[in-house]
Amino acid sequence: MSLMLFFEQNTLHILLEFVLVGVATWLYVQRRKAQAKLAREPRLTPEEEDALIAEWQPEPLTPETPDDHFALNPRIANGKMTKEVVMDGKTCLNLASTNFLGFIGNERIETKAKQTIFKYGVGSCGPRGFYGTVDVHLDLEKDLAEFMECEESALYSYGFATIASAIPAYAKRGDIIFVDKACNFSIQKGVQASRSTIYWFDHNDMTDLERLLEEQDQRDKKNPKKASKVRRFLVVEGLYANTGRICPLPKLLEFKWKYKVRVFIDESFSFGVLGKTGRGVIEHYGIDPIQVDLVMASLENAIASTGGFCAGRSFVVGHQRLSGLGYCFSASLPPLLATAANEALTMIKEDPGRVHRLQDRSRALHAGLTEALKGSPFRCREGEVLAPFRHVEVADSSLRKEEKERMLDEVVEKAFEEGILIARARYLDENEAFPIEPSIRVSTQSELEDFELKRALNVIERAAKIV
C-alpha cells in the first residue's frame, strides 16, 4: 500500500531513473558491439605494414634554398660596428645598427668587459638556478630595477627569449590576450606559446581595442564565475619596431582599470631612447611605473649588449624565476655582457645628455628624410618624431610586392656603393601573423654629427631619385 503511494508521489522521478538506466545499458551494449566489430575487422599483417612503409616516401626535411638568396650571403663586418664600419672591405657610415646611444666601441665599457673576462671567464656554465647566478647578474638586476623605478627585475640571456618566455609565464590556456597587429615577432611567438585566446586589434587603434574589450566584457557578464578566473592581458610595444609609432599608453591604462586587463609593454626599442632620462615610454608619458604590470626589454639595442630583462613588482616578476622557460632552462647571460650592460646603464644615468642628443638627432632624421624623399617614388612611414629609426617605403602602394622589394633593394645597394649603410628591413614573411609592407630602415645614433647625417641624406636622396 505504502509502495503504491510512493509510486504515485514520485512517478516522474522513477520514470526518469528508468530512462537513465535504459540509456546506460544501451550505451554499454553499443560499446561492446563496436568493440566486437573492431575485433572482426581485418588487420594489417607485419608484411602489409612493411609494404606500407616501403611505399611511403617522406618529403625532404627542408626545401631547397637558392644560392643567391640574401640570407646566405650576409655582409661580413670587419671590426667594430660603430658609426663608421668596414663592411665587406668597404668603409661606410653606419645608419643600419640599432646602436642608438653609440655605446659600441666605448672604451669604458670595453675595459669593464675585459676586466670581467679576467675575473669570471666568458661563460657562466650553468642556468640561474644551478650556480649560474653570478654576482654581476644580481647587481645588474638591482640597477635595472632602480633605473626603471620598479621593485624587481629578472635578467634573461637573450632579447628574443625574454619576451617570448615572459608572456607564457603568466598567460595560460583559457586566458585572453589582446595584442596589437603591428607587434614584433617575439611577441607573436610569446602569445603563440601561451596557448591563450588571442584577439588582435588594429595598430594603435583604440576604438578597435575598446570594441574587443567591450565584447569580451559582454561575454564575461554572461558567465561571471568563469570570468573571475580568466586572466586578461594587453600586450603592446612601447615603440613599435615595425612602424616607428609609440603606443598611446594613457588610453591603454584607462582600459586596464576599466576592463581589468593587465598591461605588458615590450620596451625593446624605447628603453634608453624615450623619456627625459631614457626610461622609456612610461617616462615619456610621465606615468607611475606601478600602473604597468610588466616591462620587457631587450638589451641589444640602445644598451649595446646582449640579453633582456623584465621589470615590475616583485609579485609579478618573481613568478618568472620559476616559470619563465627561457629564464629557468637556459644558461645565464655571460658575465662580461652583464657588466657591459651595467656600465652602459651607469653612463646613461650619469649623462642623460646622451639621450637628449639622440632625440635631437631623431628629430633631425625625421625632418631631413621627409625632405629628402620629396619628389621620389618613396616616402617615410608615418611615425613618432622621437623614434631613432625611420621606415622608408614605396609611395605607390598599388605596385606588386616583388617590384617594391626590388626598388628598395636597389636604393640600399646604391647607398652602399656611396658608403652609406642602411638596412633593408627583412621579415620572415611566411611566419609573420600579418603581412608587413616592405621597407628600408634608416637609424640614427646620438654620436652622429650633423654633417654626417646631411651626407647620408644626400646620398639617399640621390639614390631614391635614380630608382
Binding site: 627542408t62 646602436n99 647566478t133 603563440q192 607611475d288 649588449s305 613588482r313 632552462f329
Partner: protein
C-alpha cells in the same frame, strides 16, 4: 594474427635495469629468469653493437694514451668486454629502482609537506603567520594606488596551487637554489655567503665569499677559465670587434668572428655546414618551427629538454613522446609514444591510425638528446639510427651536454657510438657546457643549414653572437681539435672520462643509486625524498662542496636527486673529498638505497 598486433610489452624500468645488469660482468641473484621475448629483443638489438665493436676497439681512447695505467683499463674494460660484445668502452644505462617502501614513503613525505603548506597558507590568511613580509596578494597595492577598493579586483595572476607550493615548500629550501657565485665557475668556485632572517624571502649578503669545490657547473672540459689562451683571445677580440653589433645578420651584417666560428664548427663535427646562435635554449625552441610543420610527426623522448618540447609544440607538429630508455622496438611503440596503448580497441584505432598517419604525413622527425642532463644516461644512437632508417624518419640529435664531453676527440655521442655523422640529419649542440661560453649551433647538410639561414628568426629579429663569446668558443674548440699544436685537448677529454668512471663507481660502491651510464660525466644520485634536497644542499656546502639538488617539477615526484657534473678540471683529490662528504651525508640521510652495492664491494676502483 592477434599476437602480431599486440603491443610489445612495455619493459618497466625495473625490467630494464635487470636486463642491463644481466649484461654486466657481475653476477646478480634473481629468482626471475628473463622472459623469452626479452631475450629475443636482446638478440635483435645486438647487430649495431657488433658492427661497431671492431671500430670501437680501434678508437679506444685509453689505449691511445701512453700514460694511462693499465689497471684502470682492466677495471672497466676487460670485464665488460666479455658480455658487451667485445665493446670495451660503452657502459649501459642503469636505472636501478628503490624498494616500494621507499617509493611509497616518498609520497607520504609529499603528503605531509603539502598538508603543512596548506596549514601555513591558512594561518597566513587569518593573520597568524609571524612573517609579515609575505603579502598574499600584492594586488592590494593597486587599490591603495587608486584610492578605491572596487577597482583593484583582477583575476589572480597565477594559480593557487602554484603559489602555495612556491610560498610554502620552495621557499623553505630556496637557499640551496640560485646560489650566487663570485668567481669563475672552474673546479673551485667562490660562493657568496648569505643568510636570511625571514625564512628565505630575502637574503642578506655580508660581502664575504667561501671557496668550495664546484660540482654544479656544466664545465665538462674545464674551459671555464679566467686566464689562459681562450680568455686572452676573447678579451683581445673586444678590441677588434667590440662587444656586440646591434643589428640583425640579414639586415646589417654578420660579425666576422661568427662567420669564422661557423666554418670551424662544421669542420669539427665533420658536417657540410653549420649555423650558430647566441643562445642555446633559443636554438632549439626557435628552429623546430623552421623544420617541422603540422604535417610532421615528431617523436620525442619523454625526458627531452624544455626547449625541445617548447620548440616541437610551437611548430604545430603532431608530437608523441616515447619512453626514455625504452626498447625502441616496433612501429607501434614509436608511433604511439612508448606503448601507452592498453586496450585492444585503442590498438585497433592505432592500427588504422598508422595507415592513415603514414599516408597523410610528410615527414617523421625523431628528437633525442645525447646525454640527458637529469638522468645521466646516454642515448642508444645505433638503435635509433636503425629505427630511423627503417621508418625513413629524420633524426634531430641534441648534443647540449655531450658535445666535447663524449667521444675520443670530443665530437660527442656520434663519435662515442662511432656512427656516421651523415646518419644524423640535424646535429644540434650548445657552447655553454664544454666550451665554457654561450650559444648553440645546428649543423648538417648544406641544404639544411641554408634553409635555416633563410628561415631562422635569429637572423631576422635578433642580434648575432657577441664577438668575445664566439672567440672563446673558437679558442676552446681549436684546443680540443689539437689545432694549437698541443695534446691539451686530448688530455682534458681523457681526464674527464676517468673522473666520470671513477666517481660513479665509487658512489655505487658506497651503496648509492646512480642513474645513467658509467661513461657519462653527469652523475645523478637518487635521494628520492624532496625534503632531503635542503639537507644535501646545506650539508654539502658546510663541507665546502657545491652540488645541485633537483626535485619536482624538474624530475618525477618520487625521484628527487643530487646531481654532480664532473669536469676535467677536477683532480682525484677533489673527487675524493667530494666522495667522503657524500658518504657522510648519505649515511646521515639514509640515502644508500642501492641493493647492488655488494657487487662492487671487493672491486678495486682506480682513477
Amino acid at each position: 594474427m592477434v599476437e602480431a598486433i599486440r603491443a610489445p610489452k612495455q619493459p618497466t624500468r625495473k625490467g630494464n635495469a635487470f636486463r642491463i645488469f644481466h649484461k654486466m660482468p657481475f653476477k646478480i641473484h634473481s629468482n626471475k629468469a628473463p622472459k623469452l621475448e626479452d631475450k629475443e629483443k636482446e638478440k635483435e638489438s645486438m647487430p649495431p653493437h657488433q658492427e661497431n665493436a671492431e671500430l670501437l676497439l680501434k678508437y679506444d681512447p685509453l689505449r691511445d694514451l701512453g700514460d694511462c695505467p693499465s689497471s684502470s683499463r682492466k677495471d672497466s674494460g676487460s670485464e665488460a668486454s666479455a658480455d658487451f660484445n667485445g665493446n670495451r668502452k660503452r657502459s649501459p644505462n642503469e636505472f636501478e629502482q628503490a624498494s616500494w617502501i621507499t617509493k611509497h614513503s616518498v609520497y607520504l613525505a609529499w603528503l605531509v609537506l603539502l598538508i603543512f603548506a596548506h596549514i601555513r597558507e591558512f594561518m597566513r590568511r587569518v593573520g597568524l603567520e609571524s612573517n609579515k613580509k609575505v603579502p598574499l596578494e600584492l594586488d592590494s597595492q593597486w587599490c591603495r594606488f587608486l584610492g578605491t577598493d572596487q577597482d583593484g579586483h583582477f583575476p589572480p595572476l597565477y594559480s593557487d596551487f602554484e603559489s602555495t607550493y612556491t610560498r610554502n615548500c620552495y621557499m623553505r629550501v630556496k637557499d640551496v637554489f640560485e646560489r650566487p657565485i663570485g668567481s669563475c665557475p672552474g673546479a673551485k668556485v667562490n660562493v657568496l655567503d648569505r643568510y636570511s632572517k625571514d625564512y628565505n624571502w630575502s637574503f642578506i649578503y655580508p660581502g664575504t665569499q667561501t671557496e668550495v669545490i664546484n660540482t654544479g657547473s656544466y664545465n665538462y672540459l674545464g674551459f671555464a677559465q679566467s686566464s689562459g689562451p681562450c680568455a686572452e683571445a676573447a678579451a683581445a677580440s673586444i678590441d677588434v670587434e667590440g662587444i656586440t653589433t646591434c643589428g640583425q645578420a640579414s639586415q646589417t651584417g654578420l660579425p666576422s668572428s661568427q662567420h669564422r666560428l661557423e666554418s670551424l664548427v662544421a669542420d669539427f663535427l665533420g658536417t657540410e655546414d653549420a649555423i650558430c646562435f647566441p643562445m642555446g635554449f633559443a636554438t632549439n625552441s626557435l628552429h623546430c618551427t623552421a623544420i617541422a610543420d603540422k604535417n610532421t610527426l615528431i617523436l620525442s623522448d619523454e625526458y627531452n629538454h624544455a626547449s625541445l618540447r617548447l620548440g616541437s609544440r610551437l611548430s604545430g607538429a603532431n608530437v608523441k613522446a616515447f619512453k626514455h630508455n625504452g626498447e625502441h622496438e616496433g612501429p607501434r611503440e614509436v608511433f604511439e609514444g612508448g606503448g601507452r596503448v592498453r586496450e585492444q580497441e585503442e590498438m585497433q584505432t592505432l592500427q588504422q591510425g598508422i595507415t592513415k598517419l603514414i599516408q597523410s604525413l610528410l615527414q617523421i622527425i625523431i628528437i633525442i638528446e645525447g646525454i640527458y642532463s637529469m638522468e645521466g644516461s646516454i642515448c642508444d644512437l645505433p638503435t635509433i639510427i636503425a629505427l630511423k632508417k627503417k621508418y625513413k624518419a629524420y633524426l634531430y640529435l641534441d648534443e647540449a651536454h655531450s658535445i666535447g664531453a663524449m667521444g675520443r676527440s670530443g665530437r660527442g655521442v656520434v663519435e662515442y657510438w662511432d656512427v656516421d655523422v651523415r646518419d644524423v640529419d640535424i646535429m644540434m649542440g650548445t657552447f655553454t657546457k664544454s666550451f665554457g661560453s654561450a650559444g648553440g649551433y645546428i649543423a648538417g647538410s648544406k641544404r639544411l643549414v641554408s634553409h635555416l639561414r633563410r628561415a631562422s628568426p635569429t637572423n631576422f629579429y635578433c642580434a648575432p653572437m657577441s664577438p668575445p663569446v664566439a672567440e672563446q668558443i673558437i679558442g676552446s674548440m681549436s684546443i680540443i681539435m689539437g689545432k694549437d699544436g698541443t695534446n691539451e685537448g686530448a688530455l682534458r677529454i681523457d681526464r674527464l672520462a676517468r673522473n666520470a668512471r671513477y666517481f660513479r663507481l665509487r658512489l655505487k660502491q658506497m651503496g648509492f643509486i646512480v642513474y645513467g651510464s658509467d661513461d657519462s660525466p653527469v652523475v645523478p644520485l637518487l635521494i628520492y625524498y624532496p625534503t632531503h634536497c635542503g639537507e644535501y644542499g646545506r650539508q654539502m656546502l658546510a663541507r665546502k662542496i657545491a652540488v645541485v639538488v633537483v626535485s619536482f617539477p624538474a624530475t618525477d615526484m618520487t625521484e628527487s636527486r643530487v646531481r654532480f657534473c664532473l669536469s676535467a678540471a677536477h683532480t682525484k683529490e677533489m673527487l675524493d673529498e667530494v666522495l667522503d662528504a657524500v658518504n657522510v651525508v648519505g649515511d646521515h640521510a639514509f640515502s644508500k638505497h642501492s641493493k647492488k652495492a655488494h657487487l662492487y664491494k671487493n672491486k678495486r676502483i682506480e682513477w
